[in-house]
């Protein structure tokens, strides 16, 4: 069995028993990236030399008998939205081309503190705006299950890197579903922790009140191990929660759902949902019930307005957060030929440096915040946000977790929705409510849709700071659905076909 098809937990075991070195594991993954990333394009930047050098350091420390973190020596891919001193950070945008941050985000620092090996930066929709990674300024990422299909977004690079076995773990960020929806369509695990449970320091902001860094893996335990490594209070992020990290690793190991009350959200299903998605979802719910969980139906009547509220709050924050990309201090600068004013250079740079979706959201947000419209748009959206939070509160009185499909369909074809923003936005219909309310949620693979043979994701939502419940349910599903995607280690769909030909 090749090193790249192992789970992170398995690699950690091999490493700690010194059956394999971090250098070998890292080199294997770098080789894998070199072999397949031309087709997948999951990575924007591969930090090979530094990764190997870090791996050697870990091997030396281990050889010296030093006590290392549980994932020490395990490689990890980092979404290009996190700063890592010395590595280019573009957020998938041309406007940041060439910017090398002088400082390291808290998330990446915790990876390094845990001895993990950052392999490089993974592709994403520009400034995390999109559900297909087609909005990247550096070319789209392809879904390893079918290279003509999207890997989800915005974190398509992080999800595809897992599915193509280019990395055993990746970190992502989730503002409206950017971790969960890619996990769903690539058959991987993606968790959006409780807002404030993971630090945003060094995460280039899209929408500050929604952005949440989180772990991605191929197994539930892997995601839990990474979650434990990156989560927890950070004094540099004022919105960080000063509370212990829930025992996510314990929950992922126990997988016990007996007596757990599972609430199926009535509003997240029905019209617009693919039959195969609904079928696999229903089967998974039935399996949980068989395993001793109590299944109830809950109603969250205001979820209907979540998408509308999200597309006012998020762009409003975007319009302000993305103002700083003005060509004055870093990144792209266009038209600075000595004849133009600072204002003209700013306008030219922003005009050429940002893509259409980013501009669309800046314009919407600028409008929503402008005087005379603020109350009607931003103000009303905040009220809806409160109502959605109350829907969750009420639902969590009768259920320990809520469940739904992660996204209404399986991976759609590349190009299919690029000219239809509204249909693209609908990919996040089920994931957005948890961002608005700030609770935690995760996506777990529950098999392939019969009609197209593509992965289906099952979303679990839990109250704030009850992240462990996600892992308990996810791990139960993983056990109840053995080999739901074929044996772990087999290559997914089209990438396998392509490699067979090679």
């Amino acid at each position: 069995m090749s090193l790249t098809t192992r789970s992170a937990a398995e690699l950690a075991g091999l490493l700690s028993r010194r059956e394999v070195s971090a250098e070998e594991v890292t080199a294997a993954h770098l080789d894998r990236i070199a072999a397949v990333d031309g087709d997948v394009h999951a990575f924007l930047y591969v930090d090979g030399d530094r990764a190997l050098s870090l791996a050697k350091t870990i091997d030396a420390r281990r050889a010296a008998g030093e006590k290392l973190g549980p994932l020490a020596g395990v490689p990890v891919g980092v979404k290009d939205v996190f700063t890592y001193a010395g590595a280019p950070t573009t957020c998938g945008s041309r406007i940041l081309e060439g910017w090398i941050p002088p400082y390291t985000s808290t998330i990446v620092q915790r990876l390094l503190d845990g001895g993990m090996i950052p392999l490089g930066k993974t592709n994403m929709d520009e400034f995390a705006m999109g559900s297909s990674t087609e909005n990247s300024g550096y070319g789209a990422t392809h879904n390893p299950w079918d290279l003509d299909r999207i890997p989800g977004g915005s974190g398509g690079g992080s999800a595809a890197a897992l599915a193509a076995y280019e990395a055993p773990l990746t970190v992502g960020s989730d503002t409206g579903g950017s971790i969960r929806q890619p996990a769903s369509v690539t058959g991987t695990v993606g968790i959006k922790p409780t807002y404030g449970g993971t630090s945003r320091y060094g995460l280039v902001a899209m929408a500050s009140s929604l952005d949440t860094p989180g772990p991605c893996g191929r197994t539930v335990l892997d995601a839990a191990l990474l979650h434990e490594a990156i989560a927890g209070y950070d004094a540099r992020d004022s919105t960080s929660i000063d509370a212990p990290v829930p025992d996510v690793v314990g929950a992922a190991s126990s997988a016990d759902v007996r007596g757990m009350r599972i609430g199926v959200v009535r509003e997240l299903g029905g019209e617009g949902y693919a039959p195969g998605v609904e079928q696999r979802f229903d089967e998974a719910v039935a399996l949980l019930q068989d395993a001793g969980a109590e299944v109830v139906e809950v109603s969250c009547p205001h979820f209907e307005y979540a998408l509308a509220a999200y597309y006012l709050i998020m762009p409003s924050e975007v319009s302000s957060n993305l103002a700083r990309f003005d060509a004055m201090r870093y990144g792209l600068r266009i038209g600075d030929d000595g004849t133009r004013s600072a204002e003209e250079v700013m306008a030219l740079t922003r005009g050429q440096g940002f893509g259409d979706e980013v501009k669309r959201r800046i314009i919407i947000g600028t409008y929503a915040l402008s005087s005379g419209y603020y109350d009607a748009y931003y103000g009303s959206a905040q009220k809806v946000r409160t109502l959605i939070t109350r829907d969750f509160d009420k639902a969590f009185e009768v259920a320990d977790v809520l469940v739904s499909p992660t996204t209404p369909t399986t991976a759609f074809r590349m190009g299919e929705r690029v000219d239809d923003p509204l249909s693209m936005y609908k990919a996040d219909l089920c994931t957005i409510p948890s961002n608005l309310a700030g609770n935690c949620a995760g996506s777990f693979p529950v098999g392939l849709a019969p009609e197209d043979g593509l992965p289906v994701g099952f979303q679990v939502m839990a109250p704030p700071l009850a992240d462990d419940r996600l892992y308990r349910v996810g791990a139960a599903l993983e056990r109840l659905l053995p080999n739901q995607l074929g044996a772990l280690g087999a290559l997914p769909g089209s990438l396998a076909a392509k490699e067979a030909v090679r």
Partner: protein, 497 residues
């Protein structure tokens, strides 16, 4: 300068001025509002910066607790209510001195609101209503190079120093101030002077107008006498001294009166005060009101000071300047005029400290307002920046009262102390400045003076004691000032009786 101006008295006969003052105070916290960078003034450009105050992508602000405390103390001192819950807001606009292209400020939820202070001008009290005091961050500093005026118009390029970006600011905004009539310019000046004293006594700011740690934007509008509807205002910036405040307002009142009385209308705009020429010129036109798209800062959590904290801070407030000045004037027994000189000379604190160190109020006032004020003026320093302390001034006065030195020698002692030669008694020793008490040398000098001017000596013998002055002068000259004039006089009269 081409503005038509109406005579000030004529303008006041026709119009009532209404003032509005916005004062920005840089707090003297060691670190910036949202990061740990130093706030020290005068460092090399861009050396006091970090990812947070440079607004680098991904960086996040963390509120400086000390700044919040200072803001609350200022609010309490202004008689404001302290908000039990408030937030920061983003003020969005593009400008190269703004690292994030938004300023983290407060908008509709200021930390302090609804206060008032009472000031006095020429014996009349004026109540200045305070709308709000809120927290915000300063911007970087632009240096426009290549233009004639140092302003952006005509400049070839501009340099940016972000050391100031993120320095904590408190903005104190008055409500419209009515009914000040012809005293409007002086009321504005007195209010800012009051704020300066108050902020200094709170210890929250260096309050140096020349360094920009206290900045005032002066708004004024005119309405025809007897009307109550506010006219269109202008906002004058670059008012960098107390004197400029009254002068700029006086100018704007005269200019607006001329425009209005000739049938014109006032354009709502920002104007720029030219200290050298003594005039204002138009700056940014605010007719198309800028839309700052304020919204609550999502990167920060609300501030909710507990009532206990507020009350604890209230307990730390020093005596308010107006009460304090009244008390000190009564204690020291100065006339209004004598005391007014002290206030005008910003010498209240140093005199108070000198008195506390044992000097009489009169002597403390004398030293600080004459010799020391002169030296401060010559070197362009504040009294507090002179290299002599109130304790040293009190020690100097003790030496005078003990007869060790006279006033003239004392000035040389001051020179020595300022030159870093040590404490006053050390300077007296090292420079050999003590009054000559060797009676033999003194008597010989007196005899020589009498011999040199027999006419004057005869007059004294005839009872014309005022003639002694010339002989005393001669003796003092011979003794190079190092004699006690009273002793010389006594000796002379004794010899010539």
């Amino acid at each position: 300068m081409t503005d038509e101006l109406m005579d000030f008295r004529e303008a006041l006969a026709k119009y009532d001025p209404v003032l509005g003052l916005e004062v920005h105070v840089e707090l003297n916290t060691n670190s910036k509002m949202f990061c740990g960078c130093s706030t020290e003034f005068g460092a090399e450009p861009n050396t006091q910066t970090c990812p947070v105050c440079l607004g680098l992508p991904g960086s996040l602000p963390v509120v400086n607790g000390k700044a919040v405390e200072s803001a609350m103390r200022i609010g309490l001192a202004l008689g404001c209510q302290i908000a039990p819950w408030c937030r920061f807001a983003r003020k969005n606009y593009f400008y190269p001195d703004m690292t994030k292209d938004f300023q983290t400020s407060q908008y509709d939820e200021p930390i302090a609101f609804d206060g008032s202070v009472t000031i006095e001008v020429d014996g009349v009290e004026y109540v200045i209503p305070i709308e709000r005091a809120h927290m915000e961050e300063d911007a970087g500093k632009l240096l426009h190079v290549g233009g004639a005026t140092g302003r952006i118009q005509g400049a070839e390029y501009s340099l940016i120093d972000y050391n100031r970006a993120g320095v904590p600011l408190i903005e104190i905004v008055t409500k419209p101030i009515r009914g000040t009539r012809e005293k409007a310019p002086e009321v504005a000046k007195a209010y800012v002077s009051f704020l300066r004293d108050m902020l200094r006594s709170l210890g929250v700011s260096d309050v140096r107008m020349e360094q920009g740690s206290l900045r005032c934007d002066a708004n004024v509008s005119l309405m025809p006498r007897g009307e109550t509807e506010l006219g269109t205002r202008t906002e004058t910036k670059n008012v960098n001294s107390l004197r400029s405040i009254s002068e700029a307002l006086r100018y704007e009142i005269q200019r607006q009166a001329a425009v209005l009385s000739s049938g014109g209308r006032i354009v709502q705009e920002t104007r720029h005060w030219h200290e050298d020429g003594g005039y204002t010129s138009p700056g940014r036109n605010k007719e198309q009101a800028e839309d700052y798209r304020y919204f609550p800062e999502p990167d920060l959590v609300p501030i909710a000071p507990s009532p206990e904290w507020v009350e604890a801070l209230r307990g730390t407030l020093p005596e308010m300047p107006s009460l304090r000045t009244k008390r000190l004037q009564a204690d020291w027994g100065f006339t209004d005029r004598e005391f007014g000189d002290i206030m005008a000379g910003s010498a209240l604190d140093v005199i108070e400290d000198t008195v506390a160190a044992g000097a009489s109020p009169a002597s403390a006032r004398k030293w600080w307002l004459t010799e020391l004020a002169r030296r401060a003026n010559e070197t362009g320093l504040e009294l507090t920046d002179l290299a002599i302390t109130p304790v040293q001034v009190a020690a100097l006065q003790k030496l005078v009262e003990a007869g060790t030195i006279n006033d003239k020698l004392a000035r040389q002692v001051i020179e020595g102390v300022l030159a870093g030669e040590g404490e006053p008694d050390e300077v007296v020793r090292s420079r050999g400045l003590a009054v000559v008490s060797d009676s033999g040398a003194l008597e010989a000098a007196v005899d020589r003076a009498i011999a040199a001017d027999p006419d004057a000596a005869q007059k004294i013998r005839d009872g014309k004691v005022q003639a002694a002055g010339a002989l005393i002068g001669a003796v003092m000259k011979e003794m190079r000032g190092q004699a006690d004039a009273a002793a010389v006089r006594a000796l002379l009269l004794e010899r010539l009786s």
